[in-house]
């Protein structure tokens, strides 16, 4: 059914390879001048949506991101991977700090309705907050079925079969469209954006809007009290003999 349309939500996060530093005032982590990139799970979500489009099962892929101006870079990456157009829900930097899963879910729910999409793809979680809530909350707000931790996705007419990675192994479910799917690691291997596509992406449209335009209130009932580094791992102690080892273990009350 080439009439299906997909919305993919992408988040701009600190690059996974960066060594995170906590701000001296413990209000958060240092983000200034630090390399940011698309959340790896969001990239997998974009890749899946684009593949469905290449298989002619989806007609249009829209990439959306919420946050300050720099989010547009992340949307451009999605466009370079094959998304057709982008939506930037602009939230000024100061306010962006209070953007949590519930706020983003409200935005995505409104957008999904406005754009009349059949599929909403997200990464299962963001590597900065590890919340793993946005997809689930959006599905709840929309009252749509959800297939989370997807490791395989198959479109079957007006339904979607999702194989999910769960603690016990794999669970396969069938959802009626429209539905929400969150991508897990093994869903696919995202492509490299090739130069011709990167150039084409520059000309693709990114619509900018404010949360107010969607009638969404961003106030959060959560405030961050402090952010601290985990305690330093203490160095181990080497001993010479087995007797020493036993004695030391007894000394620290381990045996």
């Amino acid at each position: 059914m080439a009439e299906l349309r997909a919305l993919v939500a992408v988040k701009r996060v600190i690059d996974f390879a960066v060594k995170i530093r906590v701000k001296p005032d413990k209000s958060g982590v240092v983000t200034d001048g630090v390399k940011h990139s698309m959340n790896p799970f969001c990239e997998i979500a974009v890749e899946e949506a684009v593949r469905l489009k290449e298989k002619k099962l989806v007609k249009e892929v829209i990439a959306v991101s919420c946050g300050p101006a720099q989010c547009q870079e992340t949307i451009r990456t999605a466009l370079a991977m094959g998304a057709d157009r982008g939506i930037h829900v602009e939230v000024p930097a100061a306010q962006a700090e209070s953007l949590g899963p519930l706020q983003v879910a409200r935005v995505l729910a409104k957008l999904a309705e406005k754009e009349k999409v059949d599929l909403l793809f997200l990464g299962k979680q963001a590597i900065d907050d590890d919340c793993n809530q946005t997809g689930q909350m959006t599905a709840g707000l929309l009252d749509w079925p959800q297939g989370t931790f997807a490791s395989q996705v198959t479109l079957e007419g007006d339904k979607i079969k999702v194989e999910r990675e769960i603690d016990g192994g794999l669970e396969t479910i069938r959802l009626k469209l429209p539905s929400v799917v969150t991508a897990d690691l093994r869903l696919n291997e995202p492509r490299y954006a090739t130069l011709p596509n990167i150039m084409k992406a520059k000309k693709k449209k990114i619509e900018v809007m404010k949360p107010g335009d969607l009638g969404v209130d961003l106030t959060s009932k959560i405030s961050v009290i402090s952010v601290e580094e985990p305690p330093q791992r203490l160095a181990g102690v080497k001993v010479e003999t087995t007797e020493d080892l036993v004695a030391k273990l007894k000394e620290v009350g381990r045996i």
Binding site: S37, T194, I198
Partner: protein, 387 residues
């Protein structure tokens, strides 16, 4: 690579592994003073925390010592941008053959008082003295690093892409490496690395390093648009995150590994005028024909440095005779270097004459006799056996 640090007859091995302390680091000047046994990767990590980097980087960073890097005048991947150790090393502490400690461990950028003795020891492969401490100038850590991987339809286009990048990227260009289609095929076959672009006769890796992400990305996309539109490049990609940066570099850095899995490898490391860099590969392929499994070329194009490798099922004297001295003679004819980076060591000491005139070789032997009259420092290496 050339057996420089391999004992061959009756030597005693001296390790500086326990001399692994950083002596000082001055974060305004960026000058690091450390003992020779410091591992390059550990120094990189030390500096990273202080927002600096080492001026050199190579595949063996996890195990090589800085003293060894200096003794071999290691080149590496950052050479194009930060230059040779001959420029970045400010001072050395060296122990001479008779036990005298030569302390030239200054941290001065400029010091024209007398002969610059440290230059004798840099690249001397441990044959003139043992380096025990190094003072080195470290550049600030670039805030923005971008990597692009491109496919070129021919070597002429590779060269033109290089000129275009130099012109349009200017000061932010930090690496320009090339590899041929055979290399890509080998890393795909033996290491299962995916080709990120469409199949091409040549591939180029371009890295930029700068202080402003926006400025650098703009310059890079500009030059890439240019080379794509003018047909110099048929396809390409830019790394969008650190993982992709590492994956793209792996395509180039792991060629050696892929080659070693292909069979017996004959390795040549040559400096040539950059326009002729690939001609030797083509010539050699025709010359050795089916006697070799693969004849590949890759390397630091920006530095005019070709890594020429020939693989075969097993070592064969016949193949070796077809390769040597042909490769050396070819190089000598172009007034190139028979060992751009790897040094002479044990394996290449007798081909020094292809790149240096007899007067130079004689003077080297005189210096060796002066500094090590008993011939105890890394004997049997580097200089040709005297008749």
């Amino acid at each position: 690579m050339v057996g420089g640090s391999v004992p061959v007859f009756d030597e005693i091995i001296l390790s500086t592994a326990l001399m692994n302390q950083v002596i000082s680091f001055h974060d305004v000047s960026g000058i690091l003073v450390c003992q020779a046994g410091c591992v390059l990767e550990e120094l990189s990590q030390y500096l990273q925390e202080r927002d600096f980097i080492m001026p050199l980087d190579l595949g063996a960073k996890g195990s090589c010592h800085i003293g060894g890097n200096v003794a071999t005048n290691a080149g590496g991947l950052r050479f194009l941008r930060y230059g040779s150790l001959r420029g970045t090393v400010l001072g050395l502490e060296v122990v001479l053959a008779d036990g005298t400690i030569l302390n030239c461990l200054t941290s001065l950028r400029k010091d024209n008082t007398g002969y610059d003795l440290k230059q004798l020891f840099i690249g001397s492969e441990g044959t003139l003295g043992i380096i025990t401490a190094v003072s080195i100038l470290c550049p600030p850590r670039p805030k923005a690093v971008n990597v692009a991987f491109l496919g070129c339809p021919g070597f002429a286009e590779v060269l033109q892409t290089f000129s275009t990048c130099k012109g349009m990227l200017g000061e932010i260009l930090s690496a320009f490496e090339f590899m041929d289609a055979e290399c890509m095929q080998l890393v795909g076959q033996h290491l299962h690395l995916t080709n990120p672009v469409q199949e091409s006769p040549f591939y180029v890796l371009v890295e930029t390093s700068g202080s402003s992400a926006g400025h650098d990305t703009e310059k890079l996309t500009s030059v890439l648009e240019q080379v794509l539109n003018s047909g110099l490049v048929s396809d390409g990609t830019i790394a969008t995150d650190q993982r992709k940066v590492q994956m793209l570099w792996a395509l180039r850095e792991r060629i050696t590994e892929a080659l070693s899995r292909d069979g017996y490898v004959f390795k040549y490391d040559i400096s040539l005028p950059v326009e002729r860099l690939y001609d030797l590969v083509i010539d050699l392929r025709t010359r050795v024909g089916p006697r070799a499994k693969h004849v590949v070329g890759y390397g630091h194009l920006g530095d005019g440095n070709l890594h020429l490798n020939v693989t075969a099922e097993a070592f064969s004297q016949e193949l070796l005779s077809a390769l040597e001295p042909y490769v050396y003679a070819w190089t000598a004819e172009q007034r190139g270097s028979v060992s751009a980076e790897h040094g002479l060591g044990f394996k290449k000491k007798n081909v020094l004459g292809y790149s240096k005139p007899p007067v130079a070789v004689k003077m080297m032997q005189q210096l060796k006799a002066l500094l090590d009259p008993k011939g105890i420092l890394n004997p049997y290496k580097t200089l040709p056996t005297q008749a």
